[in-house]
């Protein structure tokens, strides 16, 4: 069952277990991904998610609906994860979310292009990509390759591609939940998708 925000908040305040179970399940995967931006292990991330829900319940009476419930819960999650990371003695570089452009990263290896001083096609493909075989695209092994490539991403890129492309959030929802600028949300998504594409191309080559 899908709840609208006001209905959901009212149901939670009224102690509706089914409503609570629904939202906990629906957001669980996204919450883990976001927690993992800040804490190093899956089990710590699980703990952060648990702690977040306890905090959410404790603060629910003060929720005013100025943001969506989802945004509000994810802001609490980010704070909880940061606090937990500090307690674990882990320094989370500010740049991991808010300054991804500081370190440039090419979507495609420069070796795939002709040099800038090429006389006919500077910056053109030297090794162009080809059409992928449709019958292999739909194979379950291919999905495993995609899943593995997503797992290997840096945590900030993994969180953004998971929310956008696995969970189907809008760009604005991701920006609000993670307090990201438009540009940085796109940069993280761009880099994540580029790496996963590259893994897919390598596999199907």
């Amino acid at each position: 069952m899908e709840y609208r925000d006001e209905q959901l908040v009212a149901a939670l305040r009224a102690g509706d277990e089914e409503a609570f179970r629904t939202v906990v399940r629906e957001w669980h995967s996204s919450m883990l991904r976001v927690a993992q931006i800040f804490v190093p292990t899956r089990s710590l991330a699980e703990e952060v998610v648990q702690e977040t829900w306890l905090r959410v319940l404790g603060a629910l009476d003060r929720f005013e609906g100025r943001s969506s419930l989802k945004t509000w819960v994810f802001r609490i999650l980010v704070n909880t994860a940061k606090t937990r990371a500090q307690r674990e003695g882990r320094v989370v570089p500010f740049s991991s979310l808010h300054d991804p452009t500081r370190i440039p990263e090419a979507a495609v290896e420069p070796e795939r292009f002709l040099p800038d001083d090429h006389d006919r096609h500077p910056g053109g493909w030297s090794a162009p990509p080809r059409a992928l075989p449709e019958e292999r695209l739909v194979a379950s092994e291919t999905r495993e390759v995609i899943a593995a490539a997503v797992e290997k991403l840096p945590a900030n890129q993994r969180a953004v591609i998971s929310l956008r492309d696995v969970e189907g959030w809008s760009a604005d929802e991701v920006r609000n939940a993670l307090d990201l600028s438009e540009v940085n949300q796109r940069v993280l998504l761009h880099r994540a998708r580029a790496k996963v594409r590259s893994a897919l191309e390598d596999y199907l080559r």
Binding site: G15, E17, F20, R21, V24, R25, H28, S29, S30, L32, E46, V49, Q50, W53, L54, L57, G58, A106, A107, V108, P110, F113, H121, P122, G123, G124, W125, P128, P129, R130, A131, L132, L137, T142, R143, I146, A147, V150, I161, S162, D165, V166, E167, G168, A171, E182, R186, L189, H190, R193, A194, V196, R197, L200, E201
Partner: protein
């Protein structure tokens, strides 16, 4: 001699996400699409990226463990009582 305004392939691949997100200025959309219309390599690149997005969308999100769920439901009951 290439048009100084024209995009090359290496530049185009860096604009793909902005293009798909509708974040390019109209002039850049035009340059992007002009290049794309004449370049098999970049068309294949865009197709590969679309396939990537589609396949990523078919991944299953991680499930909540039964144990974690029951711990949370216990907390919820305690909170509400």
């Amino acid at each position: 001699m290439m048009d100084v305004e024209a995009l090359n392939c290496q530049e185009l691949v860096e604009l793909v996400t902005d293009y798909l997100e509708g974040a390019l200025a109209p002039g850049d959309v035009r340059r992007f699409e002009e290049h794309l219309g004449a370049c098999d390599g970049c068309q294949a690149y865009l197709e590969q990226l679309r396939a990537t997005i589609r396949l990523t969308g078919s991944l299953t999100p991680d499930d909540l463990s039964a144990q974690a769920e029951s711990a949370l439901l216990d907390a919820f009951r305690t909170w509400h009582s």
